[in-house]
């Protein structure tokens, strides 16, 4: 009851948020229903492929929210956020690898196939415990958080800002990319982790599990949105926005800028980790390619297209751009990079506030028109 009223308070006077949450709610019910209950030949049937695709988009959307928190609200342009996403994905991947058990090609009950292939005879220490779901999920949160904490603590304390920070975040994800490509790291090298069989005893190939994963993604996206919404509208969130707009002034007023930045940075990394953990079982593979700097920078363009500094914008941007990507890579693969590149340029020059900026501009104009009209109505 308490909780409910809290959510209601949070969403009071926010039509967009209510629209967004109801859409998510509808999606969470309608999509699995149309996939599982509606017969295949009906036009309302949603194929399992589409369910997985939508699930992928929505986990990207959660990642976009995570980036928007640090970029849109705190002004830290991270070009390495996909690293946290990938780490979360790897944590989930490790759990799924352990679930394969002796059903791998080599039939080894303890070791994943790639370790048998490398002639390893024992499980490395950092793989211990990943056969337990709760532990793996805890790691999906804690590993990105720990990395973000160490990195952020070092960077913010020495006041590395602006493009310098962007470039070293890119170097970070590049270093991780190179590291995960190494077979000796024990994360499957080039091929990554794949050939998953089941999650918590449910087969990953079955439609029901896929629909279930989709519902979970919807729930986590909604929760992630609500918590982020709460964070940015709290007092802390307002300090964070102040840091974005005038870091020095905020510091002079007496706020400990580093702590606020670190807090939002670590929180964002954890959200990204959750998004990664949701992504892996739906896509069925996690490999070092997720660490590539291009992924992180693509993520930035999602948020830019949707409109930074608005959480809903991040979600819309992620879905729209990824939909375009799916469309172009199938229809005209060579056009996709032209389109993406053009999008980068167009959005930065002509649409600095993204789609949400356009919507806002439109609704403000309408409000102004109504305001002009209403006095005349009163007079007449």
């Amino acid at each position: 009851m308490e909780n409910r009223s809290f959510v209601m308070n949070l969403l009071a006077n926010d039509n967009a948020a209510r629209w967004f949450l109801s859409t998510l709610f509808m999606l969470g019910i309608v999509v699995p229903f149309c996939n599982l209950m509606v017969p295949q030949d009906s036009i309302f049937h949603v194929s399992s492929y589409t369910v997985t695709l939508l699930g992928k988009y929505l986990s990207y959307a959660l990642l976009a929210i995570a980036l928007d928190l640090v970029w849109g609200y705190c002004g830290i342009l991270s070009l390495g956020h996909a690293a946290f996403f990938a780490l979360g994905g790897y944590a989930m991947g490790m759990y799924l690898m352990r679930q394969i058990g002796d059903r791998g090609v080599y039939g080894n009950p303890d070791l994943p196939d790639f370790m048998v292939f490398l002639n390893w005879d024992t499980l490395p220490w950092y793989w211990q415990g990943f056969d337990m779901f709760w532990f793996a999920m805890l790691m999906a949160l804690l590993v990105p958080a720990a990395l973000a904490y160490v990195f952020g603590w070092l960077a913010f304390r020495s006041r590395v800002t602006g493009v310098y920070l962007s470039i070293i975040t890119q170097a970070l994800t590049f270093a991780l990319l190179l590291a995960f490509f190494r077979n000796e790291m024990g994360f499957g090298g080039n091929n990554g982790l794949t050939d998953f069989k089941e999650i918590l005893g449910f087969s990953l190939q079955s439609d029901t599990t896929r629909a279930g994963l989709f519902v979970f993604t919807v729930i986590f996206l909604a929760l992630g949105y609500l918590v982020s919404r709460y964070v940015v509208s709290s007092k802390m969130g307002r300090v964070v926005v102040a840091i974005r707009d005038a870091e020095d002034r905020t510091r002079f007023v007496g706020y400990k800028v580093e702590s606020f930045k670190l807090w939002i940075w670590v929180f964002s990394a954890m959200l990204a980790g959750i998004a990664g953990a949701l992504y892996t079982p739906q896509v069925g593979i996690i490999n070092p390619g997720e660490f590539s700097p291009l992924n992180s920078i693509e993520l930035v363009v999602w948020v830019a297209v949707g409109g930074r500094g608005t959480l809903i914008g991040a979600v819309i941007g992620a879905v729209v751009v990824n939909f375009a990507k799916t469309f172009f890579t199938a229809a005209a693969p060579e056009v996709w990079l032209f389109f993406l590149g053009g999008l980068f340029i167009f959005v930065t020059i002509f649409m600095p506030n993204g789609i949400m900026g356009l919507v806002k501009g439109f609704s403000e104009k309408r409000a102004a028109r109504l305001a002009r009209q209403s006095p005349s109505e009163v007079r007449s």
Partner: protein, 544 residues
């Protein structure tokens, strides 16, 4: 008149009569002797080989070399010419032995091999060694001596000793002495043996060390197998001496590799040092401008396939212009609208980089293109037997330093450089003084981009030219600029060279990938400690 014609005819006939005689003095012998090789009997062939050897004809060496490899044939057709063959897809490509004239391709059945047996091979090997020992080219002489190291016997030593008495070049003499020492090492005479160990210990020839190692071998209980203490101590000392020198050489080589990697980094980063360092523009498309330069080299070579030697001379200015013009277009078309918004510039230029990549993929192909290396860039400068410095790396080092110096001159000594520095220090004031800041921006960006294009020409000689090649350098370039201190060209030079050397020093024990990771982490930590790089800008310009 009649007399004159008669005279002419007489002159021509007499000349024609004399011609074959003068030319054949040592020429007629060679083809006739060659005929002897058609005999089946191996001992008769051996006699012919001896005779051929003493003719002193320059073509003999090549005949022997091909014969020992089984590449000497003669035609079955009525011409029965002797030919060298090179196998190809359709059959044999044949070349006339007498005048090196290519005769096209023939089927396997149309030619017959001149067969050799083991005895003949030994004879040929010795003959080849002897002939090449007297070759006018110093390096060929030395290679001939080295070839003899593998199976050195009394006959070979005799040859070597004979050559030693007339040899003038020190480096050939040293190699010959090593060869003789290798033979003396097996001697029963202890003094001779000790002497030879002494000589071998001074040599860096891999064969010398390999010959000494068995002497210092140990058994299972870690005792030396060799009983003779004098020989043993001499051998241990000699091996230690070689190893110390090799270690020194290894270091020199590592530093050389490091400097050449550093020069590559310098070339890649120096254009960025202008656009990022001086103008404050984050150009993520910098790597793609390098790629444009490399592709320009490729196109230039396509346009002048017969003059590969000079193609680089044409490619350098064309790459500079090409990349420079694209850079100016980028600046005027996109970046101009985004000054003062560094993060937006970063995103927009990243978009440009994607478009350029895809453009190259569409126009050329997604596959790598190969760019030819001119003859004068291949090969190596041999300092000693264990250390050879490749010319291509040497030229890259020199080239990058030249580019660096030229850029420094432009910034310090020309009016454009003056304007660039003025605008970067205080834009409003520079404008007030009548400097067209927009024009200066475009020129500066064009300059930085053009240098990226030149870097592409250099890189095309070292790595594959492909649509993704720019991506590989962009992070490294930024690291170099940031590490060196933004806005400081000397800092960029020091940073590039030191990162190159650090990378190569780490590589042997960490592996290439791990070395790179370590360097990246090192820079990340370094930036935390000194956010403005090795040589930070001081004063007002550093404020923002």
């Amino acid at each position: 008149m009649k007399n004159f014609i008669t005279l002419m005819l007489v002159a021509i006939f007499s000349w024609l009569a004399v011609l074959p005689m003068t030319a054949s003095a040592n020429n007629v012998q060679f083809p006739t002797l060659l005929e002897g090789l058609k005999q089946k009997n191996f001992s008769k062939k051996a006699v012919v080989i001896d005779q051929l050897e003493i003719t002193g004809d320059a073509r003999v060496l090549k005949v022997f070399q091909h014969m020992i490899k089984g590449k000497l044939y003669y035609e079955k057709s009525e011409l029965v010419r002797f030919v060298f063959v090179e196998k190809n897809e359709s059959g044999f490509a044949i070349t006339n032995v007498l005048n090196d004239e290519p005769l096209g391709s023939v089927g396997k059945r149309e030619v017959k091999k001149v067969k050799v047996n083991n005895k003949l091979r030994g004879k040929l090997r010795l003959a080849i060694a002897k002939l090449s020992l007297n070759h006018p080219d110093v390096n060929l002489r030395r290679d001939a001596v080295r070839l003899m190291f593998k199976n050195i016997d009394a006959a070979a030593v005799q040859l070597l000793t004979a050559r030693l008495t007339v040899e003038a070049k020190d480096k050939v003499r040293d190699t010959i002495e090593v060869g003789i020492a290798l033979f003396d090492l097996e001697s029963i005479d202890k003094q001779v043996k000790l002497k030879s160990i002494e000589i071998l210990g001074d040599s860096l020839e891999p064969a010398a060390r390999a010959a000494l190692l068995p002497l210092v071998a140990k058994d299972d209980t870690n005792d030396y197998l060799l009983q003779d203490r004098d020989v043993l101590t001499a051998a241990i000392k000699a091996v230690a001496r070689i190893d110390a020198k090799l270690k020194y050489n290894n270091w020199a080589e590592t530093i050389y590799f490091g400097l050449s990697l550093g020069s590559v980094l310098l070339l890649a980063a120096i254009g960025l040092a202008i656009t990022f360092g001086v103008m404050g523009v984050i150009n993520m498309a910098h790597g793609e401008l390098i790629m444009i330069g490399a592709y320009t080299t490729y196109v230039v070579q396509l346009l002048m396939p017969d003059h590969i030697e000079y193609s680089l001379l044409v490619a350098i200015p064309s790459a500079f212009l090409m990349a420079g013009l694209i850079g100016i277009a980028i600046e005027r078309g996109v970046i101009r609208f985004l000054y003062g918004r560094p993060l937006e510039t970063l995103l927009a230029t990243f978009g440009i980089s994607l478009i350029l990549q895809q453009l190259v993929r569409t126009v050329f192909s997604p596959l790598n293109r190969s760019v030819e290396t001119p003859q004068w860039m291949s090969g190596a400068f041999e300092i000693n037997s264990a250390l050879a410095l490749t010319y291509s790396r040497f030229y890259i080092i020199i080239f990058s330093l030249l580019v660096f110096a030229a850029l420094l001159m432009i910034l310090k000594k020309t009016s454009l450089g003056l304007h660039v520095r003025a605008v970067s220090q205080n834009r409003a004031m520079a404008r007030a003084m009548g400097i067209r800041s927009g024009w200066v921006d475009a020129m500066t960006f064009g300059l930085g981009s053009g240098i990226a294009g030149i870097a592409g020409v250099a890189l095309s000689q070292l790595t594959n030219v492909g649509p993704n090649m720019g991506q590989a350098y962009i992070i490294d370039s930024f690291m170099v600029v940031v590490f060196g201190g933004v806005g400081n060209l000397w800092g960029t030079l020091v940073a590039a060279m030191s990162l190159g050397v650090i990378n190569k020093v780490l590589e042997p024990w960490a592996g290439a990938v791990l070395a790179k990771i370590i360097v990246l982490i090192f820079i990340i930590l370094f930036i935390q400690k000194k956010p403005r790089g090795l040589f930070p800008q001081r004063g007002r310009a550093a404020e923002h």
